[in-house]
């Protein structure tokens, strides 16, 4: 057991986190990509695929989450694992939604290690109750790509849902009855998994544009349906009408304008939550007023960014995940709406990851502490309710990282002395915008100087914490148990924090 540079205990054999720049001291390592001469075999059932691929104990199986909560594949594979009595499996889905029925696999001890970038739903309780035999490793999107290419996360079989596949085994998510848009999270799996299986409900003769390349594909499984379209696209990508969210959004856009961020050629990313979209909308209005054209927006893409692309406010969209049907359609039709891999997006060892070109990223937080460390992995009770996704990747890469959040949710204060779980280190967080004030990370003296004398209500982050404590009181701390059940892996493969069992 040792402490990492943020003072968090690490008992995992992986190295402890020692700063977001530490990756620069390391060389990029890549295992060879899989055979590029694969001749895809077409089969008509997953059962048959299991037999042909000799799926057996101790294998690592991976999945992507582009079909989000509408995904049928991971549940079908889970059923087969139970039926066939396979055990000691390691699973590496890029995200886990509540609809993914992995609970029985954990209860029965079929799954040992679990690797993912986001986890929400009932699995949290099972994991915190020490039902998972191995470890939960929470990665970033870029970090997952890095782990796969380096061989740290060796995938035996990648089961990749694919809305359309052609006779050569090329695959696309751009159209079809289960269209989900870009398939960026799965490209590392395709390049480096020992076996690649595309699972589709639509086969066409030939695709002109595709992301999955047939030369890497070993097998295509045709099934009646790969997903429920209602669950594939998110229904929550609406600009908030909540006055608090709108105030935070307005303040965020104005402070960025004051800092001179919104200028010709600038680039940005926001989340797809209501406040993030409201911020993007405020920035859109400023861009129209000031006749500014940005270079690109990136990340999970919503119709709001599609509209900005159409309006000429951005030259390009770099998209790892389409959040709604308009984004899917735009990705299909508009050549400036470009699908990118998770590696190109945020792998620290890429020559030029997209996140490093971001001028600003606007992110959320479940908790932030007075050292600006951010938690988006656990709630204040210790339940796992999310994970980094691209949080730590973009926070590192962007020139300015802004956290937007109300000071309290359901009376639970946002700002803590110490966050329960560190997802993103405070050294990468620059500005916190809340409804009752704005805090600037003291590390960013340049921003503090630029904002001196401005009309913004800028206060030390501890003052904001104290203010909220006056309003809602200081909550009792809910303590974890002592036994580690998982680890938060920083994008460079070091351990930034440990997840513990519940008491």
């Amino acid at each position: 057991m040792m402490n990492n540079s943020l003072g968090r205990k690490v008992s995992h054999p992986k190295p402890p986190f020692s700063g977001s720049e530490s990756y620069r001291d390391k060389q990029r390592t890549r295992i060879p990509t899989k055979s590029q001469n694969a001749q895809p075999q077409f089969v008509t059932s997953l059962d048959r695929a299991f037999d042909l691929l000799h799926i057996r104990d101790h294998m690592t199986l991976s999945f992507h989450h582009h079909l989000r909560s509408g995904d049928f594949l991971i549940n079908q594979v889970a059923e087969l694992l139970i039926q066939k009595g396979i055990s000691a499996i390691h699973l590496a889905p890029s995200s886990i939604f509540p609809q993914y029925l992995l609970g029985p696999l954990i209860d029965k001890g079929i799954v040992h290690h679990l690797y993912t970038s986001y986890l929400n739903g009932p699995l949290s309780q099972q994991i915190r109750s020490q039902k998972l035999k191995g470890d939960l490793i929470m990665q970033t999107h870029g970090g997952r790509a890095r782990a796969i290419e380096s061989g740290e996360l060796q995938i035996d079989v990648a089961f990749l849902s694919c809305p359309v596949v052609d006779r050569q085994g090329n695959g696309s998510g751009a159209f079809g009855k289960s269209a989900c848009g870009t398939l960026g999270y799965a490209l590392s799996d395709m390049y480096y998994a020992k076996k690649v299986v595309l699972v589709t409900d639509t086969i066409v003769d030939r695709l002109d544009r595709f992301q999955f390349e047939g030369r890497y594909v070993d097998m295509v499984v045709q099934v009646p349906s790969i997903g429920d379209p209602k669950g594939i696209v998110s229904g929550t990508t609406r600009i908030t009408r909540d006055p608090i969210g709108l105030k935070i959004a307005t303040q965020t856009a104005r402070i960025l304008d004051h800092l001179g961020v919104i200028k010709e050629g600038f680039s940005m990313q926001t989340g797809a939550g209501g406040t993030s979209l409201a911020t993007a909308d405020q920035i859109r209005q400023l861009m129209l007023t000031q006749q500014v054209r940005g270079s690109f927006a990136s990340g999970g893409i919503t119709r709001h960014y599609v509209d900005m692309l159409k309006q000429g406010l951005f030259s390009k969209l770099y998209d790892v995940q389409c959040f709604d049907l308009q984004a899917v359609e735009s990705y299909h039709q508009n050549e400036n709406h470009i699908g990118i891999s998770a590696s190109k997006y945020g792998n620290p060892f890429e020559d030029h990851p997209i996140v490093n070109d971001l001028d600003v990223v606007i992110l959320g937080a479940t908790e932030i502490d007075i050292d600006f460390n951010v938690n988006v992995t656990t709630d204040s009770f210790g339940n796992i309710i999310g994970g980094s996704g691209g949080h730590a990747d973009t926070a590192y890469g962007a020139k300015i990282t802004v956290i937007t959040s109300p000071l309290a949710r359901a009376r639970i204060p946002l700002i803590k002395e110490h966050v329960r779980t560190i997802t993103t280190p405070g050294e990468n967080i620059d500005i916190l915008v809340t409804e009752r004030g704005i805090a600037i990370n003291p590390r960013r003296a340049d921003l503090i100087d630029k904002l001196a004398g401005s009309p913004f209500n800028i206060r030390p982050i501890k003052d904001l914490m104290d203010l909220q404590h006056q309003i809602s009181g200081i909550p009792h701390e809910i303590l974890d148990g002592n036994h580690p059940v998982g680890y938060v892996e920083y994008r460079d493969g070091t351990i930034i924090d440990t997840l513990y069992c519940s008491r």
């Binding site: 608090i244 709108l246 105030k247 409804e435 009309p455 006056q470 309003i471």
Partner: protein
């Protein structure tokens, strides 16, 4: 001098606890129209407890009580009158009601040993109230009149329009009466909360008639209201030039002087001073500098 008065329903805890957040010059906690008859007691308790315990309160606190012809008003006053509040907004305000209210408030404030004076804002939303507005503004303790156009239009059996011609007369009459007594003339809220352009035009019309502020029914309306009811950049520049010219004239011992070819007399100087005074109060000087 308050530009914006934000209505907050008295039975909505999440809105109450954030009442200070939006920068309204004044917040009106509503016990009347936005609170269902079954919720009146709940709303009183919520607002009272909030005012007693919340560490951050709005700059100015107004309580909209229930009208004097309802069974709720006495309980409203008994529960809510405290040193935390600045004014009571009386709906369906008639002269005699205000006189009665003033007496009742005096008794309760005395009984509670309150220190801070609590004023009255008259909500003029009846034709009969409008006809009494000149005597209403003359009552000691009345600090302003809020015009309620929706109820007024209902009382007059006239339709409200986007352009607001039908409320030209009450707006002008209220503004004039309030100006005569140096109190605030607060315009009716603009009800289309998503129409920013309409709000600005509506506020400009009210401001152009002499209204000094405007009620808001959604926080997103506050900024537009502040913009309309604050001195503009051009006005501040003009006022500065006038006062600079005044200073130079005084230095030279001149009684009258001109600026840009126009004679500057006392009313113009007073206007310039008012603009600069307002600009200081609203922070416009700092912002524009």
């Amino acid at each position: 001098m308050n530009r914006s008065y934000l209505f907050v329903p008295g039975n909505n805890p999440s809105m109450i606890q954030n009442a200070d957040v939006f920068g309204a010059d004044a917040v009106i906690f509503d016990l009347e129209d936005s609170v269902h008859v079954n919720e009146k007691d709940n709303a009183r308790s919520l607002v009272r407890d909030y005012l007693a315990t919340h560490p951050v309160l709005p700059k100015k606190i107004v309580i909209r009580m229930n009208a004097m012809n309802t069974p709720f008003y006495e309980a409203d006053l008994n529960h809510l009158l405290s040193d935390r509040i600045d004014a009571i907004l009386l709906p369906k305000a008639r002269r005699d009601d205000i006189v009665l209210l003033t007496n009742i408030m005096k008794q309760i404030c005395s009984k509670k040993r309150l220190i801070k004076p609590i004023n009255i804002i008259a909500l003029v939303d009846l034709a009969s109230s409008l006809l009494e507005v000149e005597s209403i503004v003359a009552i000691d303790g009345v600090e302003g009149v809020l015009f309620g156009a929706e109820d007024f239009a209902s009382d007059m059996e006239i339709k409200r329009s986007e352009t607001g011609e039908e409320i030209f007369y009450p707006r002008a009459r209220i503004a004039c009466a309030c100006k005569a007594y140096g109190i605030e003339a607060i315009d009716t809220p603009y009800t289309d909360v998503l129409n920013d352009e309409g709000l600005i035009q509506d506020a400009q019309k009210a401001q152009g008639l002499g209204m000094t502020g405007k009620a808001a029914i959604h926080p997103r309306q506050i900024e537009a209201i502040h913009t309309v009811f604050s001195p503009s950049k051009d006005q501040i520049l003009w006022a500065r030039k006038v006062l600079q010219a005044l200073k130079e004239a005084k230095d030279k011992g001149l009684g009258v002087f001109s600026l840009d070819g126009k004679m500057i007399d006392k009313p113009i100087i007073e206007r310039a001073k008012t603009i600069i005074h307002k600009a200081h109060i609203y922070g416009s000087v700092t912002h524009d500098e």
